[in-house]
Amino acid sequence: MSDQVLIRGARLYGEGDPVDVLVAHGLIAEIGSIEAAEGTEVVEAAGQVLLPGFVDLHTHLREPGREDAETVETGSAAAALGGYTAVFAMANTDPVADNAVVVEHVWRRGREVGLVDVHPVGAVTVGLNGERLAELGTMAKSVAGVRMFSDDGHCVADPLLMRRALEYSTALDVVIAQHAEEPRLTVGAQAHEGEIASRLGYAGWPASAEESIVARDCLLAGHAGARLHVCHVSTAGTAEVLRWAKDRQRAGTISAEVTPHHLLLTDERLASYDPVNKVNPPLRTGGDAARLRAALAEGVIDCVATDHAPHPVQDKDCEWAVAKPGMLGLQTALSVVTETMVRTGLLDWRGVARVMSERPAEIAGLPDQGRPLLAGEPANLVLVDPDAEWTVRGTELASLAANTPYEGMRLPGVVTLTLLRGRITAREGKIG
């Protein structure tokens, strides 16, 4: 393979006239009208949009422990095919990534696979049990260089422990990402608490269980002068809390993510009792989804994160109550964002670059991701065909699992090329 790639006739951020982009030695070498030198690989990109490679702050790669659901290798492939150049692998593995050994293992496996930069997320508390801080400093200073800590899947519910985690994190300049769920309000919860759950007999997960924790954590982050990131915002009320918190922001820094599925899907899908729709936090109402889309467009919610959560078939093809929560997201995120944000006019492609690449890279402190499309910048890039559509088939996705809620749906926006430091990692739906 050539170490030079010429992307011919793409529109940067979907704006302006088509230009040629020459990638060489891992960087964007030149932008303009460029003749292909001999040996340069040429990618015809007429009608396509070039963006900085996507960064996912919220991925479950399942390795170590549940390699039957996903591995660093298969998850990296799904990420590359979805246009991602960096992903953050959540800590709820088995064993839990609450120590340097596990985070370094995940980081090394990511490097060996080499399709996407895999950044392990360290657990905030030992064993995710919410009782004692994990060795955040050791993980931050390990070769894995952990930048983000989260007990995702669990909330750090104890307010004193959360305060300590936020305070302690300031010395390491890392971000604490919270799965906001007051556990006393969600005992036995199976679905969004509302009319549909009541009719179908699901125990309810009230919106206030999320909103109350987000409000509390924003106050604590301000008090500690810490960096708080709110995972998978799911309710209109949380968006209002974030707006208030950002307006009054004192010392702390607050950021938040929303998943593609919370932008598109609603609790009306629950009537099938098919656990492919079961996710935590649960699918909310149409009103919530509309407010989340608006909040993302306005910047109240900073970015899109997939919460990619692969599960093997036996953990999903069962009764709702025993099914594991979560759904695939890496390969469908761009399409769902295209459907919900671009086609609706809420975001242009520069906005997509902001919410899928630039802001996540800033939040996590990645220096070489989410960079502007300029000569001399790292060539972490994604090329998107905005007009193409595809039909989602779970078994055709790169993940080991197939639990996609979009099965059979026709979605717009197709990733045609992904480059990681100038090397093609995915092209036309295939790796490499």
Partner: protein, 309 residues
């Protein structure tokens, strides 16, 4: 009818047909020494119970046997179910072994729907005998049969459902069926025991039982599960009983023709005074008796109805 999974969305004409069949079956069997009809001879009915329920399981078992079906009981203890086999694999095994109908009781809402999906290819019928907090459609049908018997018609009748509506599959099934058959339903419960979004249901809501009694044609008491009494849903069993229990004094406030129902098992003295449970207004024993006929009718419509046409 292919399956009976819920009363939500059940065609009222079909529900009425089932109730009419139950009436006919009851008349047919009345006074007979041998209560056995040949209708389902050679058909195999499996009761698959993931929760203990002597009352419902026995009712279905008798219904199947009186229709001459071969009835096999599977419960979670001592079977592959107890060994942790998935519901899907159990379902496929039962279908492969030749079950014509699976009657399922399960703690997960939607389990009967899932079962019906897995059995779609096999042609095996599924009856929901209670799934989580969702529905218990044959209970609602037997309640409707009992009310029809006592009141003549459900149309225009006012029925109170009293107690733990939030956790009650019986209440959900009754709300849908009774309103579909023309009755008015008022839910009487403390706010903590009402479902969120209750205003979307075709019911009215009251927290004052006494204010409702005089206008009722029937009062349906619900069971309060023991764990609710200490779960902060209400301050104490005593306070609950004072506010929502059906006492003898309250019985006197009901119109003379009004019917008292309870799906059982009853907490006498707390939910319902013993004298009320045994009073002429009480149709609690008839509910159990009608349950067999209603379940016979359901099996008939699922397994023999098409052939009869």
């Amino acid at each position: 009818m292919k399956h009976l999974l819920a009363t939500d969305g059940l065609d009222p004409r079909l529900a009425t047909a089932v109730l009419d069949t139950a009436d006919e079956l009851k008349k047919t069997l009345l006074g007979r020494e041998v209560r056995k009809l040949p209708t389902l001879r050679g058909r195999t009915v499996v009761t698959l119970f993931y929760e203990n329920s002597t009352r419902t399981r026995v009712s279905f078992e008798i219904a199947g046997k009186w229709m001459s079906a071969d009835v096999i009981n599977v419960s979670s203890g001592g079977s592959s179910v107890g060994k942790g086999e998935s519901l899907r694999d159990t379902a496929l095994t039962l279908a492969a072994a030749g079950a014509d109908c699976v009657i399922i009781r399960h703690p997960a809402s939607g389990a009967a729907h899932r079962l019906a999906g897995w059995l779609a290819e096999s042609g095996t019928a599924v009856v929901n005998a209670g799934d989580g907090m969702h529905e218990h459609p044959t209970q609602a049908l037997l309640d409707a049969a009992t009310l029809r018997e006592r009141l003549g018609t459900l149309s225009g009748r006012r029925v109170a459902i009293v107690g733990d509506v939030l956790h009650s599959r019986v209440a959900r099934s009754n709300i849908h069926l009774l309103t579909a058959l023309g009755a008015e339903v008022v839910l009487v419960a403390p706010p903590t025991l009402l479902p969120v979004g209750v205003s979307a249901l075709p019911v009215t809501v009251s927290h004052e039982l006494d204010a409702e009694l005089a206008a009722l044609d029937a009062v349906m008491m619900l069971r309060v599960q023991a764990e609710r009494m200490h779960g902060g849903f209400f301050p104490s069993a005593r306070e609950y009983s004072v506010a929502y229990g059906l006492s003898e004094q309250r019985l006197k406030m009901l119109p003379e023709h009004a019917v008292v129902l309870h799906p059982g098992p009853m907490l006498r003295g707390m939910e319902i005074a013993s004298a009320v449970a045994d009073a002429p207004s009480s149709a609690i024993t008839e509910q159990v008796r009608n349950g067999v006929h209603v379940r016979m009718a359901v099996l008939y419509h699922l397994l023999a109805g098409e052939e009869e046409k």
